[in-house]
Amino acid sequence: MQRYFKTIRLFWSTAFASQLEYQLNFLIELLAMLGTLLGSVFILSLFFTGGRQLGDWTWESALVIQGVYTFLDGLTNALLRPNLTEIVNYVREGTLDYVLLKPIDSQFWLSVKKFSFAGLPEIILGLSIVFWAAIQSGSTFSIYALFVFIISLLIGFIILYSVWFLISASSIWFVKTWNATEVLRALLAAGRYPISAYPVILRFIFTLVLPVAFLTTFPAEAILGELKFKILFFGLILSSLFFIFSRLFWKFALKHYTSASS
């Protein structure tokens, strides 16, 4: 276990050093992030014109969801995207061989090798929005609500990671997964809005098939102190299943791996 922590530390300190070379990139990401946030809050505000509500969510509580989305988007940009979109290149160029030979778990190595520090401002900003908007909508922040919030964020992140990893791992067969990740990104954008704002059939899909609801709506309910315990329980089970499945799938995929270079 200690070896894994040490590895992460080494990976990320090298990542930090190499990214200092690209400061302009950092600035661009920052601008793009602010623009995206401004745009989505603007679009969200259009739903509330004329004193309307969005699927029984008030303006302030809907902003909590935007905050959670921004936070997860930051994590995606910092950790998931830089690492998991690389898997396809390892497969195509045959360099996956070297990863498999290392005396460390290959899924771990592939998932944490890089860390893009340009995602950090988004993570911090996302959390700030969550807390600010939660205060605005009158949340009392009991210790219990905070605890449930952290657990439900963890559930959301594990589900997000597993789905991304599953798609990336399928590159063992398909060698091109860029478009599949684009579909995923388009669908995940549905998480910007509360799940109760969708028609019934989409609510069902976004809760059970592609659990977008667990990514943003439920953590937002948690910090507002409205999350039902049985949903949290169900989320724990669902995220464990997703994670276990991603591991089994990776093991299965590796059995089919027929190196490209050797």
Partner: protein, 244 residues
């Protein structure tokens, strides 16, 4: 291109965003506040989806890859401007996307039978023309960013700075008539509304100022063509043939 059928099907699917937005706007009854009933909303968003399928551009990503891997050098030696190579590959992929786009449109009509409509021939022609203009503007805008590849190695990161205003101002997420008037005024000064909103309005049969729309599209093209040309010429002088 026909080799990559799954790829293209997925690519067509990745355009689902207008449909997600449609379900939100119609479920929450917001359409009325900007003068569209459910049928109007459905037609608008299906049109927006179709327009995007035939105007989407990724030249900066192809170009960056070619530039970094040194494949650009032989292209530059050829007597044809390298950008035409990318134009051709975009047009080819648009053609292969047609059956998927039709399949998605049919599925949409089955799910929302009341929204079914067939645009008249002149409507279809004007929508076709304005979608091509939209593609041209989007292509030129991205080429402008692509030409920056000659200066920086990571110009695809700069593309985000075009994509963000495109996402919110083009009308992909909401018809522009929903914007408050002061936002609308600013938006109309940018090229983005002419990329989705204008062609989609023609296709869906919403009232639209056709003359001024086309005028603006042509104006943007005539500004962008010389700009791309100049930036490209300056860039080629700096080209150092990476990887070659």
């Amino acid at each position: 291109m026909l080799e990559y059928r799954i790829e293209i099907a997925l690519w067509a699917l990745s355009g689902v965003l207008p449909f997600i937005m449609f379900s939100l706007w119609s479920q929450n009854d917001v359409g009325n506040s900007f003068g569209l009933n459910d049928t109007g909303l459905a037609r608008y968003f299906l049109s927006a989806f179709l327009v995007r399928q035939f105007s989407v551009v990724w030249v900066v990503f192809s170009f960056e890859e070619d530039s970094l891997s040194g494949r650009l050098s032989p292209y530059l030696l050829q007597p044809l401007h390298p950008l035409f190579r990318y134009v051709a590959s975009h047009l080819a992929e648009q053609a292969t996307r047609l059956p998927f786009a039709i399949a998605i449109a049919i599925t949409f009509f089955i799910l929302n039978p009341s929204s079914f409509w067939l645009p008249s021939l002149p409507q279809l022609f004007l929508a076709y023309l304005s979608t091509h203009f939209a593609f041209t503007i989007a292509f030129l805008l991205q080429s402008l960013v692509a030409a920056l590849c000659f200066w920086t190695e990571k110009s695809s990161a700069l593309e985000r700075l075009i994509f963000v205003p495109y996402l919110f101002l083009s009308g992909l997420l909401v018809p522009l008539s929903a914007f408050p008037s002061y936002v609308l005024k600013v938006a109309m000064l940018t090229p983005f509304p002419y990329l989705i909103n204008f062609p989609a309005k023609i296709l869906s049969g919403m009232p639209v100022d056709i003359f001024n729309g086309f005028l603006a599209q042509i104006l943007w093209i005539s500004i962008l063509v010389p700009s791309v040309n100049i930036l490209w010429k300056l860039g080629v002088k700096r080209y150092t043939a990476m990887g070659a």
